[in-house]
Amino acid sequence: MRLRFGHAACVAVLLAATAALAQSKPVAGEVAEGSLKGKTLTLVSYGGIYQDGQAAALKEFVDKSGVKLLNDGPTEIAKLQAQVESGNVTWDVVDTDDLPPYVYCGKLFQKLDLTKLDVSKIPEGQVGECSVPAMNYGVVLMYNTEKYKDNPPKSWADFFDTQKFPGVRGIDGSGSPTGGLLEQAFKVAGGDPKAMTVADIDKAIDVVRKLGPDTIFWKTGAESQQLAESGEADMLMMWTGRAMTAVKNGAKYTPAWQDWLVVMDQMTIPVGVKDTDASYALLNAYLGKHAQEILAEQTSYTPINSDAQPKVDASVSAFLTNSPERQKQGYKQNFKFWVPNFAVAQEKWSALMSGN
């Protein structure tokens, strides 16, 4: 009896210690039972199956914490700016593109307190001052296998070489420039992306411009997919998710993985949210292994928890970017250059997009 009591006490002390530890040191994917009862959080993202997947990934968090989760979107930085300026921020956690959290860090997005998040399982180099990754994906060069047969393009250099590889190119014209693509173009112009200057942006854009008037600038992911499925473009710069769906739907395209461009969505907490700790709790749950597995299974995006083992079929796993081989082939854009030069690059890119 006494022995048993001692045993139980021991366990109790251990449990209490773990609980205390858990409180001081968060574990990704975990949240205390009923801790957010009566509270409401609004997650803002890009809608579609992506946001549905995020909601599914957070279901466990919602059930356990008792929080009421609202979904809103699509993410627009201008709307967020209006909220922050008017002091009425209704977006508690915001999923954004690659660059905004770096460009507006501290202005629109809070500098993150990493004692409130467990970032130990996030791939190296992806935690920003104001953001954690929401998922990983890639921008990949897809080519028409029937057109190029035995002599397929192997790199972005081939993509920009219309002499050796004639054919229509399709490029992401959905809005913002893709830093990685401009760096690859700059390489073609004979430059070194690591030593890029503002004046070099023009040189890079010129390489894109030289692709000629047949070049298609697709406006939406759906359009890029449609271009592959109808075979209207011979080489396409595509998001991996769309590339996968196009191939699934029968497009005769295959990726050239060398120097695929590493891109990600970011998770952020806006400046001026009503309950910062609740936002942190959501982020921490989102980073969990199980949540990331659900996200990957539902959306086919690459999870950002390195322990995650999503169960996906071969057509999906062919386009996941977290295998060691893909990680070796990936090309990371020069963040340090693009963040301060985002506005200049955007203006020049917009001019190209407007027919200049």
Binding site: A78, S230, E347, N356
Partner: protein
């Protein structure tokens, strides 16, 4: 009538404001949802980042802005022209047929009008694309394919279809009021059909053409979705540039300035067109 004017009783005169009271909800709504935001746009275009004209100086110093502004007006003018050419015979047909067929014709105009613009534009993508319906038909008939999508032609076709009701309806409402006996009278006085049309019917229908043309032209200037989806870089319109400035670069001032420039240029053009339209109106109204 004019003789009785001074004798309007005072009580009736006092009641004269009543129609304005009825218009009050609309006025309040207009001021709240158009007036106030418009004022904000003007103020922000002059005050961000500092007070001054810097956003306007920027607009007129960047060549691409001017090129796109000009292109916006050119595309809108083409759309207006296509709409007039397509709508005129259609509206005439509506006045010439019986009530049943007229209803059918009206439905043909209105049903696409009830479908969302995005859906209609996407159907145009399917029709116009290189491997699309139009090109497959052309190829199966032995003609070469034509590039329609991502060209200015494609944008004009898509926009004209969306805007056609705004041309047909004002035209029809004017045409149905034209007394066809006037045309018959011209014929009986020896005018050939073309002459009777040109000197009698056409001038009487011009108010409808002008009304429709102004509506279509102004609506076309602000188009966003259709040129974005059907056009390529060489058919980008000003709204796309505004979107980039505001949503991507958070340059509300510059975006505002672009909007104001478009608005003012439109007003100037309308002011220039107004005297022509007024004199034509008078001519048309003359017995």
């Amino acid at each position: 009538m004019s003789a009785s004017e001074p004798t309007i009783p005072a009580a009736e005169r006092r009641r004269a404001w009543r129609p304005f009271a009825l218009a009050l909800p609309a006025l309040v709504l207009l001021l709240a949802v158009i007036g106030y935001p418009l004022l904000t746009i003007v103020v922000r275009s002059l005050s961000e980042p500092q007070w001054g004209l810097q956003n306007y100086v920027w607009f007129f110093s960047v060549p691409i802005n001017l090129a796109v502004l000009q292109r916006t007006f050119v595309i809108s003018a083409w759309v207006t022209l296509v709409c007039v050419v397509c709508a005129y015979p259609y509206a005439y047909l509506m006045t010439a047929v019986g009530p049943r067929v007229r209803l059918l014709l009206l439905l043909c105009v209105l049903i696409p009008f009830w479908v969302s613009g995005v859906v209609r534009t996407l159907s145009w993508v399917i029709l116009l694309q290189d491997s699309g319906v139009i090109n497959s038909i052309l190829r199966s008939l032995g003609f070469g394919g034509v590039r329609l999508i991502r060209t200015q032609t494609g944008v004009v076709i898509g926009m004209a279809q969306v805007l056609l009701p705004f041309m047909i309806l004002p035209l029809y409402s004017v045409m149905k009021g034209i007394d066809l006996k006037l045309v018959q009278a011209a014929r009986s006085l020896g005018a050939r059909p073309s002459r009777a049309f040109l000197t009698v019917y056409l001038p009487l229908s011009l108010p409808g053409v002008y009304a429709g043309a102004v509506i279509v032209f102004i609506l076309a200037l602000g188009f966003y979705i259709t040129p974005a989806l059907l056009g390529g870089p060489r058919s980008t319109m000003l709204s796309t540039l505004v979107q980039t400035q505001v949503l991507s670069l958070l340059q509300w001032g510059r975006g505002g300035a672009m909007g104001v420039v478009l608005l003012v240029t439109t007003f100037v053009l309308l002011a220039l067109a107004a005297p022509v339209m007024r004199s034509r109106h008078r001519q048309a109204g003359r017995p």
